[in-house]
Amino acid sequence: MLTILAATDLSNHGNAAVRYALELAGALQARLFVVHTYRTQS
């Protein structure tokens, strides 16, 4: 089984990439991870 990692910064376009990843994962029946990172504002 393929493993896909979608990264998003929770912006509209980042989330659109996650939607794309979900559809592609569905077509491939892949395992899907979605990652969001955060850090202290400097």
Binding site: L2, V18, H36
Partner: protein, 229 residues
């Protein structure tokens, strides 16, 4: 009292949970259960670490949504990530919508070494999606292929097998601009590029004269790294 990091972590978790909640109906329809990961740290470092630890086959990134001319594809991750990562990476332009993959354009440099790993990866991916790839070689001089280039071309077509949609040779002085112009006119479902040429990916992502062309593209870009295959 919560520390700043705790507050940020809670916000990050809540934000991602909200996104996945919005996608839950579609996830069920597709029989996919997305697994969420929220991490503190530099996005590039975290993503690379997850790719290694989870043996990720495909990384998918989107655009942050600033001016398309300022940031063509990237959000909180840097171009350095794509330069250094060992995982195939799919960059999603803002208006791209997945409607299945039927046709891929696979841009190759026939002068470079044959990439057996790339070929196996693409062949498997295309076969699973019922898609076919047209290999594209861009040259700056209108002359026939050398014997070694022709052999490389034939090897690609044979390797893709039933997933091959043939090969195409086009002429253009600027490889990156020619590539984007072709993608804009041909509109494949995905454009795959592979190179270990110094700064090719960099030029592709910050393509100077081609910037506006890339900004207009709705075609996802699959970058196949030299390392890792």
């Amino acid at each position: 009292m919560h520390s700043l990091n705790t507050v940020l972590e809670e916000d990050a978790k809540a934000g991602l949970a909200e996104l996945l909640s919005k996608l839950s109906k579609r996830s069920q329809e597709l029989d996919i259960t997305p697994e969420s990961i929220v991490r503190y740290g530099d996005a590039d470092t975290v993503i690379q670490e997850i790719c290694r630890r989870q043996t990720v086959d495909l990384l998918i990134l989107g655009n942050k949504g600033k001016s398309a001319l300022d940031t063509l594809f990237f959000g909180s991750v840097s171009q350095a990530l794509v330069q250094n990562i060992e995982t195939p990476t799919l960059l999603i332009p803002p208006k791209a919508v997945f409607t299945g993959w039927k046709k891929m354009v696979y841009a190759v440099h026939l002068q470079e070494l044959r990439q057996e790993g790339h070929l196996r990866y693409l062949q498997a991916l295309l076969a699973q999606l019922g898609a076919r790839a047209e290999t594209l070689h861009i040259v700056d001089l209108e002359q026939p292929l050398h014997t070694a280039e022709q052999e490389h071309h034939d090897w690609l077509i044979a390797g893709l097998g039933a997933q091959s949609a043939g090969g195409r040779l086009i002429y253009g002085e600027d490889i990156v601009e020619t590539l984007y112009r072709y993608a804009l006119s041909y509109q494949p479902d995905v454009l795959a590029v592979a190179s270990h040429r110094y700064n090719f990916f960099e030029r592709l992502l910050v393509p100077g004269i081609s910037k506006q062309l890339a900004g207009k593209s709705t075609v996802p870009l699959l970058m196949l790294p030299f390392q890792g295959f």
